[in-house]
C-alpha cells in the first residue's frame, strides 16, 4: 500500500530537469481567441529549402495550372520529401529557392483517386501513407516523419513521446491545437504508435497549460496514450531534455533517440498524421502563432504552407513600431532575412518585435565567474569553461568539455549578468569543429586518390620497362650468331670490297 502511495505521489510530481530558466511566457494575449481559419491570400510563396540540408526540385513549369493537393516539388532521391500545392492556381514564377503560386480562389481539388488513404492499419502501410503526405516534423527541426518512423521501427523503440511542451515565449500553436483538437492529436498519436511499433506513448505537456491538459484528459478515455506533465521551464521542450525528464534516459551526442529506444514527435505532426491517414490529405497547412506586442490582435491561424507573412500581419493589424520579424520563438528563433518571408512547414511562430520588449543589447562585459550559466544549463555543461576555450579556439578541450552536447538553447546567455553572447560563441566553435572535420576528411580522400595515382603510374612504368627488356631480348634472339671467326671473315670481305672499289677508281 505504501509503495502504491509512493508511486501515486511520484506520478503527481511533474517531470523536470536540472537548470533551465523561466522567461515570461507572453502567451495569454494570443490564446484569447480560437485558432482562426485564414482567408486565401492572393499568392503563395512555397519554399524549396528548409528540409534539413536537402533541397527540393520543382516538377511543374511556369504557367502550369495546378490543383489543390497536387505534387509540385519533390526531392531527387528521397521520395518522402514532397511539396503539395496548398490550393489551386497558376504557377507564376519558379525561383532558385521558391515557387510562386497565384491562387485562383476556386480551391479545386485534384481528382480523388490520387489521394490515398491507408487501406489497412499495418505499420508499413501507415508509414507509406505518411511518406506520401509529405509530412515533416512540424516542431521546427523538419526531419522527415516517415524516415524517423522507419528508423524507429528498425531500432524497435519502446516509447513514443508526443512533444506538446511549448516552453519558448510567444509560441502557443500546440497548446491551442490541443485545446481544440485534442481528439485528433490523440488519434494521430495512436497511429504513430502503431507505425513505430512503440509499446507506450506519452503526451508531454507543461503543467501550466491547464486548458490543453483538461481537453486531453477528457479525450483520453481508454486510449493507450498517457498524459505526462512537465515542470514549466525553458527548455523543457527540447528533444533531449524532454527524453531526460520524462524517461530518465540520456541520449549520447553521437546517437539518435531511436538508439535508446525512444522516438519523439511533435503534437502538430500527430495531427497531420491523423489527417493523412483518415482523409488521405497531404500536409498543406499548419497552425501558426502570430504574436508580438506591435500586433493589435495576435492569433493562431490555420495557415496554408507558403502564406506570405505580410498577409498574416495584415489580418492581425500590425502597428507602425514593429522593428523585426522573428521566425520561431523569441529565444531559439532567427530573424527573417528573406525579402518576402513566408510560412514553411517548420514555421511554428512568427513574432513581431518592437524596441520595448526587444531592446538593444547592453554592452558586453567581462566574465565575472558568477556561475549562473552553469546552474541554468539544462544539459549540465560548464558554459564559462566552454567560453574560455572557444575564445582560445582549443578544439580538443571544447570536445572534452562536451560542446557537442550543447543544445544551443540560450539559457546561459539569458542569465548572464555580463551580457556575453555565449550561444553565438558555441555555434561558431561548433561550426569550426565541423569545418575542420570536413576538411580533414577531404584531404584524406585526396591523399587516397593520389596514392592510387602513384600506384598506377608505377605499374605503368614497370610494365613499360618489362616490355622494353623483353623487346631487347627478342632483338638479341633474332640477331645471327656472333663469333670471332665470322666477324673476321666479314671484316676481310669489307676490306676486299673497298680494295676492289679503289682499284676500279684507279682504273
Amino acid at each position: 500500500m505504501i509503495r502504491n502511495l509512493i508511486q501515486r505521489i511520484s506520478a503527481l510530481r511533474h517531470a523536470s530537469f536540472k537548470g533551465g530558466i523561466r522567461p515570461a511566457p507572453h502567451k495569454q494575449r494570443t490564446l484569447v481567441s480560437r485558432i482562426m481559419p485564414m482567408p486565401l491570400p492572393e499568392y503563395l510563396l512555397l519554399s524549396l529549402s528548409g528540409y534539413k540540408e536537402e533541397h527540393l526540385s520543382p516538377v511543374v513549369k511556369e504557367g502550369d495550372q495546378v490543383f489543390k493537393f497536387q505534387i509540385i516539388a519533390q526531392h531527387h532521391s528521397r521520395k518522402e520529401l514532397l511539396l503539395h500545392a496548398p490550393t489551386s492556381g497558376t504557377i507564376e514564377q519558379i525561383g532558385t529557392n521558391h515557387i510562386r503560386l497565384t491562387c485562383d480562389g476556386q480551391d479545386t481539388e485534384v481528382s480523388q483517386q490520387s489521394q490515398q488513404k491507408a487501406k489497412m492499419h499495418s505499420p508499413a502501410s501507415l508509414i507509406d501513407c505518411i511518406a506520401k503526405a509529405g509530412i515533416i516534423g512540424l516542431g521546427g527541426a523538419g526531419f522527415s516523419t516517415a524516415a524517423k518512423l522507419r528508423l524507429a521501427a528498425r531500432a524497435e523503440v519502446e516509447t513514443l513521446i508526443i512533444n506538446a511542451a511549448e516552453c519558448e515565449p510567444y509560441i502557443c500553436c500546440d497548446e491551442a491545437l490541443l485545446r481544440e483538437k485534442a481528439q485528433e492529436v490523440i488519434r494521430g498519436a495512436e497511429y504513430l504508435m502503431l507505425a513505430s511499433g512503440a509499446r507506450s506513448c506519452l503526451i508531454a505537456i507543461e503543467s501550466d497549460k491547464t486548458d490543453a491538459i483538461a481537453a486531453v484528459r477528457k479525450c483520453l478515455g481508454d486510449s493507450p496514450v498517457q498524459l505526462k506533465l512537465l515542470a514549466s521551464k525553458y527548455p523543457a521542450g527540447d528533444e533531449r531534455v524532454i527524453i531526460k525528464s520524462t524517461t530518465g534516459k540520456e541520449v549520447p551526442d553521437q546517437l539518435r533517440p531511436a538508439d535508446v529506444g525512444i522516438v519523439v514527435q511533435n503534437a502538430g505532426t500527430a495531427r497531420a498524421v491523423f489527417e493523412a491517414v483518415t482523409f488521405g490529405q497531404p500536409c498543406i497547412s499548419r497552425v501558426v502563432t502570430v504574436a508580438g506586442s506591435p500586433l493589435q490582435t495576435p492569433k493562431n491561424f490555420y495557415a496554408l504552407i507558403g502564406t506570405p507573412l505580410s498577409h498574416l500581419f495584415e489580418l492581425c493589424g500590425l502597428a507602425d513600431n514593429a522593428k523585426h520579424i522573428i521566425l520561431g520563438g523569441a529565444l531559439m528563433g532567427r530573424y527573417a532575412e528573406e525579402e518576402q518571408p513566408s510560412v514553411k512547414k517548420t514555421t511554428n511562430c512568427i513574432v513581431a518585435t518592437d524596441s520595448e520588449n526587444f531592446p538593444q543589447p547592453m554592452p558586453e562585459r567581462a566574465c565575472i565567474r558568477c556561475g549562473y550559466c552553469a546552474e541554468a544549463c539544462p544539459v549540465g555543461l560548464l558554459p564559462q569553461q566552454l567560453l574560455h576555450f572557444s575564445r582560445l579556439q582549443d578544439q580538443q578541450e571544447l570536445r572534452d568539455h562536451g560542446l557537442m552536447n550543447c543544445i544551443e538553447c540560450g539559457a546561459c546567455a539569458y542569465v548572464c549578468p555580463s551580457n556575453i553572447p555565449l550561444v553565438q560563441h558555441y555555434r561558431c566553435s561548433k561550426e569550426d569543429i565541423h569545418l575542420l572535420e570536413r576538411n580533414q576528411a577531404q584531404s584524406q580522400h585526396w591523399q587516397a586518390r593520389y596514392q592510387h595515382y602513384q600506384y598506377r603510374q608505377k605499374k605503368l612504368a614497370d610494365a613499360n620497362n618489362r616490355k622494353k627488356t623483353r623487346a631487347k631480348a627478342a632483338d638479341l634472339a633474332a640477331a645471327p650468331d656472333f663469333s670471332r671467326a665470322s666477324a673476321k671473315m666479314e671484316v676481310a670481305a669489307a676490306v676486299a670490297r673497298v680494295k676492289a672499289k679503289k682499284q676500279r677508281e684507279n682504273d
Binding site: 542569465v415 556575453i420 585526396w446
Partner: protein
C-alpha cells in the same frame, strides 16, 4: 683456446654469458633502431595529416608526403601556400616550433580554387589528364575533357601542360553549407526577451 679448458663447466658458463650479452646488446640495438624509425615515421604521418593534400608541389617537393618527410627532418614549415597560416599554426603547435609567416617564394595563400576546362577549346590531347595527381579530369584522346569539380584540389598542375591554354582556375562556388554564423557580438533581442533577472529558474 680459452685458458679455462680444464674446467668445462666454467667454460660453458663464460661462453653462455658472452653469447647472452651479445644477444641482448643486438636486441636492444635493434629495438632502439626500430623505435627511432617508427617515431620518425609516425612524425611524418602526423605532419602529413596537417598538410592540405592538394599535391600541388608548390613547396618544391613532389607532393605532400615528401614535404612532410622533409619537415620531420628539419625543413621549414612555412612553405605550403594552400594550407596558409592555419596549417603553419597547427604545424608549429605540433612540432613546438616558432610559427613564421608564409614564405612568399612559394606563392601566396589563396581561397580554395577549382579547375575548369573551357570545353569548346579543348582539343583532347590528354596531357592534363596525365598531369592531374588526383585523377579529377575525365576524357579520352581526341575527345573533350572535363574536370570533376568535387575531386579537384585546385593544385594548378594541369594548367601548364595544356597546349591551347583552355584551363582556368576559378574560386570555388559558395553553397549554403559554407554559410557561417556571424562572429559573436552582443546582439539585440534574441536572448533578451523578458530581461528581468528575478525570473531566474533556481
Amino acid at each position: 683456446m680459452l685458458p679455462l679448458t680444464d674446467q668445462p663447466l666454467a667454460t660453458g658458463l663464460v661462453w653462455a654469458l658472452a653469447l647472452g650479452c651479445l644477444f641482448w646488446t643486438t636486441r636492444r640495438f635493434w629495438r632502439w633502431l626500430n623505435l627511432e624509425r617508427q617515431q620518425q615515421r609516425s612524425l611524418v604521418d602526423l605532419v602529413n595529416r596537417e598538410l592540405p593534400q592538394t599535391q600541388c608541389g608548390q613547396c618544391g617537393f613532389a607532393g605532400c608526403r615528401p614535404y612532410a618527410r622533409a619537415i620531420a627532418q628539419g625543413e621549414a614549415i612555412n612553405k605550403c601556400p594552400p594550407g596558409g597560416e592555419q596549417t603553419i599554426a597547427r604545424l608549429s603547435e605540433l612540432l613546438q616550433e616558432l610559427a613564421e609567416p608564409l614564405d612568399p617564394g612559394h606563392g601566396q595563400s589563396q581561397p580554395p580554387l577549382v579547375a575548369v576546362i573551357r570545353e569548346a577549346e579543348c582539343i583532347g590531347c590528354t596531357k592534363c589528364i596525365q598531369a592531374c595527381p588526383v585523377d579529377a579530369i575525365l576524357g579520352g584522346l581526341k575527345f573533350m575533357h572535363t574536370v570533376i569539380a568535387a575531386e579537384c584540389t585546385g593544385c594548378d598542375l594541369c594548367v601548364e601542360p595544356c597546349p591551347v591554354d583552355c584551363i582556368d582556375l576559378v574560386p570555388l562556388r559558395q553553397t549554403p553549407r559554407q554559410w557561417r554564423t556571424p562572429a559573436p557580438v552582443a546582439q539585440a533581442g534574441l536572448s533578451a526577451t523578458a530581461t528581468t533577472s528575478e525570473q531566474r529558474a533556481w
